[in-house]
Symmetry: C3
Subunit: 271 residues, 3 copies
């Protein structure tokens, strides 16, 4: 595994820019994780806003620097708002991040995620291996919103999905895969306690929204955000007996991240 | 008070099975507690999923091992989804847990809880004393979602409700009563800080969903889940100055529970 | 800065009454903060209830001691419920607190907040400087739900808004301004970590609801609640490395607040 010096410098530059500019990240996300993702964005230095009414999402997406769409607790009125917000973000040249939570578990989620992909061309899609396989290969999942696969098992699915929609695809797991243009970057940071906290995947998607707001390369934004998730997870796990303490320390770690944390810990194998 | 050796063995067997199988627990629950209950289910070892759209609840309930319906922040579209999900769970032979949050506080909640009881025949109903009395005796409550009574004050109401709908009725409080077939089991585990954290009752209902997914006896599932709630509460309270720390340690305790915690602490008086 | 002895006595009397009476505070609030505000109200000693269905909000508002309306994740059905609940609260003589989250960020929020102000005459409005300026002067905001101004920058706007709707206006920031009848009281308690946690403003509004339930003076209720927010924030920040720990300790601090904390820490400059 290589530890490219330009990678930690890119991550650290993004963090400094997020802290300095506090980009407004518009989230249309699920009820379960709204609080956690808002707190994670604030701890990192970004400014989160949640808005889902058709009457306002276009206006909100227009003043935001990026848009994160998460289908975790989907319903018809929210889908309409996702398309409206997505179109406003596109008109204003703002990057869109799509989190297809539970794709493969129900037809409704799979079909909605596909339609969002086709019509909004999100810059970045982040999901677990089951979700990425479901979208690429029409696989059904019986694990709800948890993955039945390792991320490597979705490497081909990620390549295919990326090619089909011209999106960067981030497949998260013990190793995170960031796939684009036939190339795959791997992020080895992270900790086994992360799947024991709800919404860590959704939080990764939200943080990608913050990085995409300051980094014009969607691929770099995804790699940098996943590395920061993993590093904060490692720091949080150090003295955490269980997932309750872990989440508290994860938010602290995002807030406290410094240059040497990034430089010494980042484990990315560039494609 | 007796401390039956078969009780702790039953609890420990259920926990081991939940950790090994990670049963999918489908929750249609309220906005306030979604995050907490999802984290509690994950900490215990189960796999939570939240889904409420009519377009998908039938499919989700069909792949889940149990269904938890909680009326804490009710609205008409969610009620329709509760019935759809409940019917799918019944068709697939999955146990249903009903949490009638705030029954007695408004006509809407009381009437909805009654209709869910009558049409879905949930295996287990868990509520506080005010809620159980409201459903059994048509009492009005003016305490919102908090109880105006001790659980013993609802013992007769619980018997009646259990007989009427053939459901196990768990009435939670300082002592938890699990009523079925004219018999009452009492769980003496717990801590006075638990009512100072929002959603501890809802979390009990969610954990019952996990136990019911692995234990074919609805009564045992309810008793075991209430004992585990109480034991985790006792462990969490040990070094908690207030409810903020308590909730963090409660999630840690669920994650860390081991055989001796259960064996040494369980305080159940069998009926 | 003066530290009036009657101020800490008023605060402490309110806290004791909240703990003794556990007033029912009905919240129609946003998805992001529901859990945090419910936990803060419980930690303080109040009894929170969240209900938003048109079928029940009138009944719930009628049994509650106060109503808190927060437009943080607005949609049309919720607006209808806000008006229904507000009218029931007015009919029953219960104080209403309005939190105009994100007013100025979208036309939908600004217009809804104005209509709630005009039709419900809330006893107290609490917002940040951008929100108060948006409502008083029609200013647009591009910072989402965060403020682009210091609270002092909204002093004139707060006076104007207060005069127009005969409401107490609490403008929160590093210094909190409580404006009514051309007079302004300033609360200097608080800590710079508070804006790094989502929903601290919403929590202030919820706590104002608890204080307004026991204190007949809307102005005193607002001043006392803002002082308690600030004092709990100072206590929480003492050993908090970051916002994760801070929120946990903030809830502990609300639960543990004692007479000497209030007497020694309160920093209020009376108007």
């Amino acid at each position: 595994m290589e530890n490219h010096s330009d990678r930690w410098e890119s991550i650290w530059a993004d963090i400094q820019r997020i802290r300095a500019e506090a980009p407004l990240v518009h989230n249309i996300t699920n009820y379960v994780v709204m609080n956690t993702t808002a707190n994670a964005l604030l701890a990192l230095g970004a400014s989160p806003v949640m808005a889902h009414a058709e009457e306002e999402v276009g206006e909100m997406a227009a003043i935001a620097q990026s848009l994160v769409i998460n289908i975790g607790t989907l319903s018809a009125p929210w889908i309409a708002a996702m398309f409206q917000a997505g179109e406003a973000a596109r008109r204003n040249g703002r990057p869109i991040v799509l989190d297809p939570v539970g794709a493969g578990a129900t037809t409704f989620r799979t079909a909605t995620a596909r339609k969002l992909l086709a019509e909004l061309s999100p810059a970045i899609v982040r999901g677990n291996a089951s979700e990425i396989r479901a979208l690429a290969f029409d696989e059904r999942s019986t694990r709800g919103v948890d993955s039945a696969y390792e991320s490597e098992d979705a490497a081909k699915a990620a390549d295919r999905l990326s090619g089909q929609y011209r999106s960067v695809v981030a497949t998260s797991g013990a190793v995170d895969l960031i796939s684009f243009g036939g190339m795959t970057t791997r992020v080895f940071n992270g900790h086994s306690m992360m799947p024991k906290v709800t919404g860590m995947g959704c939080t990764a998607s939200a943080l990608i929204g913050a990085f995409a707001a300051v980094n014009p390369s969607a691929r770099d934004a995804a790699v940098n955000a996943m590395a920061v998730m993993g590093i904060a997870g490692e720091l949080a796990a150090e003295h955490s007996p269980g997932p309750g303490t872990f989440l508290v320390r994860f938010l602290d770690a995002l807030y406290l991240l410094n240059e040497s944390d990034i430089r010494e810990r980042v484990k990315v194998r560039e494609s």
